[in-house]
């Protein structure tokens, strides 16, 4: 049990590896997003030998005043259970999510340019789910129906074109909303990332962030996207049943990152790729901030310390105004101004400045 009362501004947690710095950040992330940034396996969050993990906290918001949040994960004989509360009342995840918005920047994000599309979709999903409750609900419904359709195509039950059409109907309804939200978000993200990138040394040309929808559409309107999705599903119906897989839809979306018109993943230098990641992450923060009356919490896990000082400074400049941030590091970056400095050692916390 650890009690932590952070300050406004930048809270820096310094300590050796494996002392519990990231763990503390993870707890804050759990209160914001209901998920860990390190693992998808809920049971991994529970300390070995125990059967419960719990995080609770208070957040002060402009709109809602002070709210109390908690997230408890317990392992039972029937699997892992997760209980969320908001102001002491148990609530569903969809209601809990987005109560206190969080933007994270963790080591895994450094693969954002070169890693698989799922990483880039994850960024869109986490940001949009926190920003728009309806996005999360559409995404959850989309994924549920997608699993059912996949099982049907795989032959888990007798083939049934009628049933495929019924699943497609829900996929189009929810998927079109997901695609529209992503299109708007990526265009804002591209603008912001470009602005951040422009602030530092021009690094071989202009950065472009483009939404690479699996189902291309002409204009970003509900009708156009719905029509394009329906047409594509019809075109690929035979291929889907032959290959026994769901081939069409936003679950196959990607985000393209280009520098001077060329793919950064394919042609960018390591330095250029790194700069692009920083610009996109800083852009993510400013877009999230612009879309909400609240400044999201900024969680920086062991990332800035890996950067050279000029990049780290440029990143923080790119973020611009924030109200509260948390940074874990093994060595204090020399020219970072913090509001509070904590030493973390053997899961204990001591304020040193």
């Amino acid at each position: 049990m650890l009690d932590f009362r952070p300050q406004a501004g930048l809270n820096v947690l310094v300590g050796q590896n494996a002392q519990g710095k990231s763990n503390l950040l993870e707890a804050i992330c759990l209160l914001g997003t209901g998920k860990s940034f390190r693992t998808n396996r809920e049971s991994d969050l529970i300390k070995s030998g125990l059967d419960v993990a719990s995080a609770s906290g208070e957040a002060t918001l402009r709109a809602a005043g002070t709210i109390r949040l908690s997230c408890t994960i317990s392992s039972t004989p029937r699997g892992t259970r997760k209980i969320y509360t908001l102001n002491g009342e148990p609530v569903k995840y969809a209601k809990f999510l987005g109560s206190a918005k969080v933007v994270t920047f963790v080591p895994a994000d450094l693969q954002l340019v070169t890693g698989p599309p799922s990483l880039r979709r994850h960024l869109l999903n986490m940001a949009l789910s926190q920003d728009q409750p309806l996005y999360y609900r559409n995404l959850a419904r989309y994924q549920k129906v997608l699993v059912q359709k996949a099982a049907l195509l795989r032959g888990a039950v007798a083939p049934d074109p009628d049933l495929v059409n019924i699943y497609n109907q829900t996929l189009v309804e929810t998927g079109a909303a997901i695609m529209l939200a992503r299109a708007h978000f990526v265009s804002a993200l591209g603008r912001e990332a470009r602005r951040v990138q422009d602030q530092w040394i021009s690094d071989g040309g202009a950065l472009q962030v483009q939404y690479d929808a699996n189902v291309p559409f002409e204009v970003a309107t509900q009708d156009a996207v719905t029509a394009a999705f329906e047409a594509r599903l019809r075109e690929r119906a035979e291929a889907e049943s032959a290959r026994k897989a769901c081939l069409v839809g936003p679950h196959r979306d990607d985000v393209m990152l280009l520098l001077a018109g060329a793919s950064l993943a394919a042609f960018g230098s390591q330095g250029q790729q790194r700069t692009a990641v920083l610009a996109v992450k800083a852009g993510e923060y400013t877009v999230m901030h612009d879309r909400s009356a609240e400044a999201p919490l900024l969680l920086l896990d062991d990332v800035l310390s890996e950067l050279d000082p000029s990049r780290a400074r440029a990143f923080m400049n790119g973020i611009g105004h924030y109200e509260q941030a948390f940074l874990t590091t093994t060595v204090m970056p020399p020219d970072l101004r913090s509001s509070a400095l904590y030493e973390v050692s053997a899961a204990q916390l001591k304020r040193v400045a």
Partner: protein, 191 residues
């Protein structure tokens, strides 16, 4: 203790509740325990499925199917027999029932062929109801099942309806989730 173990296999009962039930029973007279044990066995021995609607019953056909006061022009389709008891508690429905025995869910190996869909179509032919009410849960599986059945039944010339979506009575607009609220706006009615 063996009984604690047995109780905790039941849905919604955890080890703590199971222990409480066992200690409660220990403090009660023997005949109460015997009545409970016999009632449990009787459920297994005497209760079976109605051959018409597939609800659970002690006599076949079940009282819902034989009761002449019930409206035979209405047929309400539910996933499980327990849904009938939920609907009966309302006293608002006086028609017949049909239990299809689950919801379409390919990931669990349940397709239309695993449910009593064929039997439903046969009843629509033989009993000629005027309206089929689809009362499956408003979740992904319930929705898919309802859509599937409606595509199957509508061509037979029978009117197909679905339970309304909306706000819980006594609820608060503030507390309704976005999807429910959006559905409630869609399904609004003139006063």
């Amino acid at each position: 203790m063996a009984l604690i173990n047995e109780f905790s296999k039941l849905p919604t009962v955890g080890p703590k509740t199971a222990a409480r039930l066992v200690f409660y029973l220990l403090n009660r007279p023997r005949n109460e325990a015997q009545a409970l044990a016999e009632a449990i066995l009787a459920v297994k021995d005497r209760v079976r499925l109605c051959s018409i609607c597939f609800s659970i019953t002690e006599e076949d056909p079940c009282p819902f199917c034989t009761d002449q006061r019930r409206d035979a022009t209405l047929l309400c389709v539910v996933a499980e027999a327990k849904d009938i008891f939920a609907l009966e508690r309302t006293s608002a429905y006086k028609g017949r029932y049909h239990v299809i025995g689950g919801l379409i869910s390919p990931m669990d190996g349940i397709g239309p062929a695993q449910l009593r869909v064929k039997e439903l179509i046969e009843r629509v032919g033989s009993e000629s109801p005027q309206e089929i009410i689809l009362a499956t849960n408003p979740n992904a599986e319930g929705e898919a099942t309802a859509l599937y059945l409606s595509r199957l039944i509508t061509p037979l010339g029978v009117s197909v309806t679905r339970l309304a979506y909306g706000l819980p009575i006594g609820g608060d607009l503030d507390y309704a989730d976005e999807v429910t609220l959006a559905k409630a706006i869609e399904g609004r009615r003139a006063l």
